[in-house]
Symmetry: C2
Subunit: 145 residues, 2 copies
Amino acid sequence: MKSKMQMIESILKGKNIKLTKQRKAIMEIFLNYDEHFKPEEVYDLVRNQGIGLATVYRTIEILKIHDIIEEITIGKDRYYELKLFSEKALHIHFTCKKCNRIYDYDKTEMVLDLIRLRNFVEKEYHVDVEDMKIMMKGICEKCRR
Amino acid sequence: MKSKMQMIESILKGKNIKLTKQRKAIMEIFLNYDEHFKPEEVYDLVRNQGIGLATVYRTIEILKIHDIIEEITIGKDRYYELKLFSEKALHIHFTCKKCNRIYDYDKTEMVLDLIRLRNFVEKEYHVDVEDMKIMMKGICEKCRR
DNA sequence: CTTGATGCAAAGGATTTGCACAAAT
DNA sequence: ATTTGTGCAAATCCTTTGCATCAAG
């Protein structure tokens, strides 16, 4: 059985994309921590390996285009997180207005609503929906008390 | 009965925000066309009145903070559109991957699903949801044929 | 009058790009 | 060998800010 890393590698190989040590290092960040990162944050984690910021941006772009990671924008910040293999394939991003923490919610109960929503849109507007993002903003449990 | 413009004016008056001719001109863009605009696009529509780009940015910020317009980010672009008074209070933004057109969908049937989703999140995670955005990406009807 | 707003140009921050060199296939 | 990727620094793009001046309340 192939590891996730190997699966990503074979996806990229099929597209003439070379597997450099820089790209592997960056991919590992997303695979090992199932979290969101800003480009700068990824850079901080790999710069000790002599990897430049431009390479981080270029690699993120590649991973995004091939749907391995996804981009979420919150206010003025852009984050990236693993999309492929993520158990929380369809999840909701919640940002707290007070503490600015970002939470990912992914209960199955919601996924059903989301799928229904997608099906409705596809039928009603005759489109193919390939991707959806739900962002909520409000006050989190900790900040409410 | 107050016009929408008058209502916005009274909201802003209560906050020590002066009603300059520049701000009125920019507010009218959002009121008259119920569409999304980039800052530059708003600027193009008001620059003939001698309004500077910085003022457009500053006014957009004010309108956003007071929930008169809302921000949506699609890829690398940031758009703003009327939020207050908008019949399509809760709507879905759909972007076509091929033609890059942006559509707003707002059938009531979906709104119910969205409200249920919000209620679920609030109960399950003990948060207050004040705002939500749904972005979908895919292929639109025109580009499918 | 007094305070807050404007326009301009300059500054800032994030992202992209050109290019000579290096590494993967 | 060829092709593609990398690091660096410079360039670009979007957005914000400082400041002298102007206008709203």
